[in-house]
């Protein structure tokens, strides 16, 4: 169960390979690169978005089958084209179809709803099942062709007959034209009626039913763009206080805002920043302090931020510094020059909590991903690779060697493949099942069943 933090070491816990989705071929088409991964509230559905604007939803199989040792597998449930590339002729702006984020809505009826967004437009999709079909229409024949009304001599009541399950996705709302800059985040509010969308300089609040209007709640655009010093990098609604949200910046700060305090939340209620030692300031300081992701814990008591080299856990009651800091890949500190040159220093890694908030996970390079147990303070590095993809194979911990002497099974920093980045990971809300996006492949791992 989720009570166990699930970080390796010792005899308590191990992660095993479960499934991998996607093509094996070396030549990766840009469109196939996965850009977002998200479980729904129950964990039964897993959605992915890619650079080609497509969404693929996987559904967990029911565990009626006693044959299999592993828990239910995830199989394709629905797939659709969410966004298409556009060109804004007025602004000479090319708009990518890449799905930046997917967020599920809590389920209220048989259908499932999710929000998907690219740089400019957010869409609400309804995914519904159809397993019955009406037969015996009066005006149409079996093939759907209209019957000649004069030939109809009697009336009948159509009957519902079972049919093969069909899953349909339809766009129910399109929330467009509200963002001048590029959308980086969307977050559904705990009131289940509103959601926020954030771009580089502004945050808007929407009502899920209303597409022609949104409220601007944060605007950090300076009057003179020459004075621009920071941008918004991520934003999220509090999990249970519907008036509270946070947003992070490229300067490594987080602002918590209360929508009850004022309509325009330019003035924060809380300001979170870790003091920096001025003597350690360098050209890279600000770039590596830029926060690429912010996530509230399920409890709502903490939040986690990801910057280039570390993950930090903050107590919402303490603004002065984080309560925990975890180094993801500290060995990269001596590679910052080349990471700046190849642009890797601007990679935006995400992070996530497990269901019980006692473990956190984030990605790294070389298809490595890292997990940290907040209670035991243990951490583990695992790899998503085809080599360790035999069913139920236990994942072996990886280690990066920083010094001169490389032990067997260790990999040296210079051998790391910086093109294999794990930017997106997701943790099942209740169980120890994780989804890891490795470029164009989706890996699913779960804990070992005894």
């Amino acid at each position: 169960g989720a009570g166990n933090a699930g970080v390796g070491g010792g005899n308590d816990f191990q992660w095993c390979f479960s499934q991998v989705k996607g093509a094996i071929d070396e030549d990766v088409a840009e469109a196939d690169i996965i850009s977002t991964v998200e479980f729904n509230y129950s964990g039964d559905l897993l959605a992915t978005g890619d650079k080609g604007g497509r969404v693929v939803i996987f559904q967990r199989e029911q565990e009626g089958n006693n044959r299999s040792h592993s828990r239910g597998e995830y199989n394709v449930y629905s797939t659709f084209q969410s966004h298409e590339p556009e060109f804004d002729y007025l602004k000479s702006l090319e708009i990518e179809e890449k799905i930046n984020k997917i967020r599920w809505l809590p389920q209220q009826n048989a259908a499932h709803f999710l929000l998907s967004t690219n740089d400019k437009t957010i869409k609400l999709w309804k995914i519904s099942e159809r397993d019955k079909r009406a037969e015996g229409y009066n005006l149409k024949d079996e093939n759907g062709r209209l019957r000649d009304p004069f030939r109809i001599t009697s009336l009948r009541v159509p009957v519902l007959k079972p049919m093969d399950l069909m899953v349909e996705a339809s766009p129910r709302r399109i929330f467009a034209n509200a963002h001048t800059y590029h959308i980086n985040s969307i977050s559904v509010n705990s009131d289940h009626e509103t959601y926020l969308s954030a771009d580089d300089l502004r945050i808007n609040l929407w009502h899920l039913e209303i597409t022609d209007r949104s409220f601007n709640i944060v605007d950090i655009k300076p009057a003179n763009m020459e004075e621009l010093t920071e941008v918004i990098t991520a934003a999220e609604c509090h999990p249970n206080q519907c008036n509270v949200f946070v947003y992070s910046s490229s300067k490594g700060t987080i602002r918590l805002c209360d929508m009850r305090a004022s309509a325009l939340c330019d003035r924060h209620s809380k300001f979170f920043e870790e003091p920096e030692d001025p003597s350690s300031r360098s050209f890279f300081s600000e770039i590596i302090s830029s926060i690429s992701d912010v996530k509230f814990s399920h409890s709502g008591r903490y939040m986690m931020t990801r910057d280039y080299l570390s993950v930090k856990v903050w107590d919402l009651n303490m603004e002065s510094r984080p309560v925990e800091t975890y180094q993801v890949h500290e060995y990269l500190r001596s590679k910052l020059c080349s990471l700046y040159e190849n642009d890797c220093i601007f990679d935006k890694f995400e992070c996530c909590w497990n269901g019980s908030d006692n473990a956190i996970m984030t990605g790294s390079y070389n298809n490595f991903f890292r997990m940290f147990d907040r209670n035991t303070r243990r951490d583990i590095t695992l790899e998503a690779s085809r080599e360790s993809s035999k069913p139920r194979a236990i994942l072996k911990p990886r280690k990066v060697c920083t010094g001169g002497k490389r032990k067997k099974d260790e990999i040296s920093v210079d051998s790391l493949d910086f093109n294999k980045k794990i930017l997106h990971t997701a943790w099942h809300p209740k169980e120890n099942i994780i989804a890891v996006a490795a470029t164009n492949n989706l890996y699913i791992f779960q804990d070992k069943i005894n």
Binding site: E226, E230, E286, E341
Partner: protein, 116 residues
């Protein structure tokens, strides 16, 4: 010192240890900074300043100047291509796009391989 516990990589909260770690940390970073400055002497002093952020805000911007295009087509040899100075003209750069250069954007109507 926190290094005794080889399993943990969390930083301790005490001020002393933080200072110590930061001293060690600043050396490789300063060395990297020196490397970068040696390669690119004109690199601005304010990396987080407006130039850098403006570039982020202008992602996706594609300009096409029909006048330049037609002149290039007419092969006017004495035409000077505008060069981008380090501090200005971030968006047009030093290359005049021609219709052939702009990548053809097609939406991917092919089903994702994840669903295969």
């Amino acid at each position: 010192m926190s290094s005794e516990n080889q399993e943990t990589e969390t930083q301790q909260e005490s001020g002393e240890e933080k200072q110590d770690t930061q001293e060690k940390e600043s050396n490789p970073v300063k060395a990297e900074e020196a490397k970068l400055k040696a390669k690119y002497p004109n690199l601005g002093q304010k990396p987080g300043g407006s130039d850098f952020l403006m570039k982020r805000l202008q992602k996706g911007q594609k300009y096409f100047d029909s006048g330049d295009y037609n002149m290039a087509k007419a092969k006017m040899k004495n035409k000077q291509l505008p060069t981008a100075g380090p501090d200005k003209n971030l968006v047009t750069g030093d290359h005049i796009p021609t219709p052939q250069d702009l990548p053809q954007r097609k939406s991917s109507l092919v089903t994702s391989k994840l669903a295969g």
